[in-house]
């Protein structure tokens, strides 16, 4: 049997989570290094008609379990289905998104399989000599990085947060193989049931999806000053973000928080105002395409990772930027 690298394809109510495609992108690199095939694993109800989509993002094969018991996520049936597939096909590597669902599921699956699991990896690569998966992740709130490996148990399992890996291109002309499997469970085998799901729009704001983020920290002095950041974000078609200090101060809620204990973002443009740039903040935004940092302190660590640094008062600089962008847009349109 050819070696394989597996990616869990996460979907909710028939909507894919982009982290699955980001992992297929990374999975392709790992599969090449291992001379292995890249496989997606898709579980859910009425998902068989969606099974080609992972192929378009790079999967050679897609394993599908389509069952009414998988209509919404529950640990037991999802873990049961995955464990059975892994035992049959024995992948070398198995990656999942470090989402609410993925963190819950990966812990259960790894425990059933008695294998190693590394959470929230930021770097994954195959060691040339040993052919083992090297899994690098921040620990202790991002103050240190650790590289972890799993010598003998299989598969080598890891989770990766959304937006940490880059998105591969979609190619709808790619062809792949779809393999269906049965779940083999009854409702009475499962000990949890959904009563209802209450949508909360305040939690559906996803800073991860923004292309432009203007983030503020302690240095902007007062929550009311976020108005200035919002104006700049509006001109750029972006959203406001915040450091942990700003969220702890109650200036913005957690859905806006960028960093180790907040959200990992990779926008095209990240503008920080009054954020010193502790490593816990950096790990959440260093993947941004362009970083513009504003801070009073010329020694602030945020300047080390910025493309452009502006030393001065954010409350003066931010409105000046807003004006400059507004003028530029006025000229071009």
């Amino acid at each position: 049997m050819k070696k394989s690298v597996w990616i869990f394809i996460e979907q909710t109510d028939g909507k894919f989570n982009d982290v699955s495609w980001e992992l297929l992108g990374k999975g392709r690199e790992l599969a090449t290094a291992l001379d292995a095939e890249l496989c997606g694993v898709l579980l859910g109800h009425k998902v068989i008609e969606m099974a080609e989509e992972p192929v378009y993002y790079g999967a050679d094969k897609v394993f599908v379990i389509d069952d009414p018991l998988l209509e919404y996520y529950r640990t037991q049936p999802y873990a049961h289905g995955l464990v059975a597939l892994v035992k049959e096909y024995k992948p070398e590597v198995f990656l999942m998104g470090a989402t609410y669902l993925g963190r819950d599921l990966s812990g259960a699956v790894a425990t059933h399989l008695k294998t190693g699991l590394t959470a929230d990896c930021t770097v994954l690569n195959i060691d040339e000599e040993t052919k083992l998966l090297h899994q690098t992740r921040p620990a202790f709130g991002g103050n240190i990085m650790a590289t972890i490996y799993c010598a003998s148990a299989r598969p080598q399992m890891a989770t990766v947060r959304p937006r940490v890996m880059s998105m591969p291109d979609r190619d709808a002309s790619r062809k792949g193989q779809i393999i269906e499997a049965k779940l083999g469970l009854k409702e009475t085998d499962i000990s949890t049931r959904r009563v209802e799901f209450v949508c909360d729009p305040s939690t559906s704001f996803r800073i991860e999806d923004a292309q432009v983020i203007v983030a503020g920290g302690r240095g902007i002095g007062d929550g009311a000053n976020f108005k200035l950041l919002k104006e700049l974000a509006d001109v750029l078609g972006g959203v406001v973000g915040a450091s942990r200090a700003a969220v702890d101060a109650g200036w913005l809620d957690w859905s806006h928080q960028v960093g180790q204990t907040g959200h990992t973002v990779r926008p095209r443009l990240y503008i920080s105002a009054g954020i010193s740039g502790a490593i816990q903040h950096q790990v959440g935004m260093e993947g941004s395409d362009m970083i513009i940092a504003i801070n009073k302190d010329p020694d602030a660590s945020i300047f080390k990772i910025a493309d452009y640094g502006i030393v001065g008062d954010a409350l003066e600089i931010v409105p000046a930027l807003t004006e400059a962008f507004r003028k530029m847009k006025g000229e071009s349109g």
Binding site: Q76, A79, Y100, R103, L105, G107, A108, A110, T111, H112, K114, T115, G116, L117, T118, A119, H134, A139, F140, G141, N143, I144, A146, T147, I148, Y149, A153, S191, T192, R194, V195, F197, V198, D200, T203, S204, R206, V212, L236, L269, Q280, V283, E286, M290, F303, K304, I305, D307, Y308, G309, I310, V311, G312, E316, I317, A320, L321, A324, M328, K329
Partner: protein, 270 residues
């Protein structure tokens, strides 16, 4: 009802650094605290106790000084504690940790059946969130992660109703007992101890269990029982860019703003 709460003693994560020369963790002088998420789990258990009456057993694994977190738990209302402490447990990864904790819970269950095991969503030193699901899987319990609150317990049908925090909203679930629940910070505010309770807790004896006190397959514990190994630790690398730094003390505000706006425009971001 019998509730078990798993509490971990952790170094205050914000103060841990890597020795850049030796490549080892500098933990000296770093204060130890009870994992904040676990305290929210304990608070959830305490609220059940207040409402329905329950016995709360706190379970921790760690070095001898981890009795501190058990005493802290007793000071705010836990009834009893066990510290799992043995050199054979050192170096356990999440798989080995969930094994040892689940074996201890099985031992506790022999004399006093357990209805709910609580744990924090994750610990702030490792940030893995893996041990909770691991224990539930090993014990064959129902699992409710990211719990915001318990809405009801039906002892007749042996089910609980709980709310979970998820992306985009809140899920209400029903779970058969026994269940393992992991708790998020938003669930509650942790109570404080009264002075007499604090003093009483400091004098309380914490039962310490080493590997002889409960059934264990030693090869599944500690470093030997851990499939993952640490290859190396290192300080986060600096980003490889040469920033262009401008200072409002030297350059005019308009000039700086225009330079930045042009750079953004040139990168095709607008």
């Amino acid at each position: 009802m019998h509730l078990v709460v798993c509490v971990k003693q952790v170094p205050d994560a914000t103060e841990v650094k890597v020795d850049p020369v030796k490549g080892t963790l500098v933990r000296q002088g770093v204060p130890s605290i009870a994992n904040p998420y676990d305290m929210h789990a304990l608070e959830m258990a305490l609220q059940l106790k207040d409402e329905h009456g329950a016995k709360i057993t706190v379970l921790s694994m760690g070095p001898p000084q981890a009795t501190d977190v058990i005493k802290r738990s007793i000071s705010i209302g836990a009834d009893d504690g066990r510290l799992l402490c043995d050199v054979a447990f050192a170096g356990s990864d999440t798989l080995a940790t969930s094994y040892i904790l689940s074996q201890a819970i099985k031992e506790i269950e022999k004399t006093d059946p357990v209805d709910i095991v609580f744990a924090g969503k994750m610990a702030i030193d490792g940030d893995t969130a893996q041990v909770g699901p691991g224990i539930a899987t090993r014990l064959g319990y129902s699992l409710v992660t990211y719990c915001l609150g318990i809405d009801g317990i039906d002892t007749g049908r042996s089910v609980i109703k709980a709310r979970r925090q998820l992306e985009g909203g809140c899920e209400v679930v029903e779970a058969d007992l026994p269940v393992l629940i992991t708790v998020v910070k938003e669930a509650n505010e942790v109570r404080y101890a009264s002075l007499p309770d604090l003093i009483k807790s400091i004098r309380s004896d914490v039962t310490v269990w080493n590997k002889e006190f409960f059934e264990l397959d030693i090869p599944q514990c500690g470093l030997k029982g851990s499939p993952t190994q640490v290859k190396k630790i290192f300080p986060p690398p600096p980003k490889d860019v040469t920033p262009e730094i401008m200072n409002t003390g030297e350059t005019g505000l308009d000039e700086i703003a225009n330079t930045v706006a042009e750079a953004v425009s040139k990168a095709g971001i607008l």
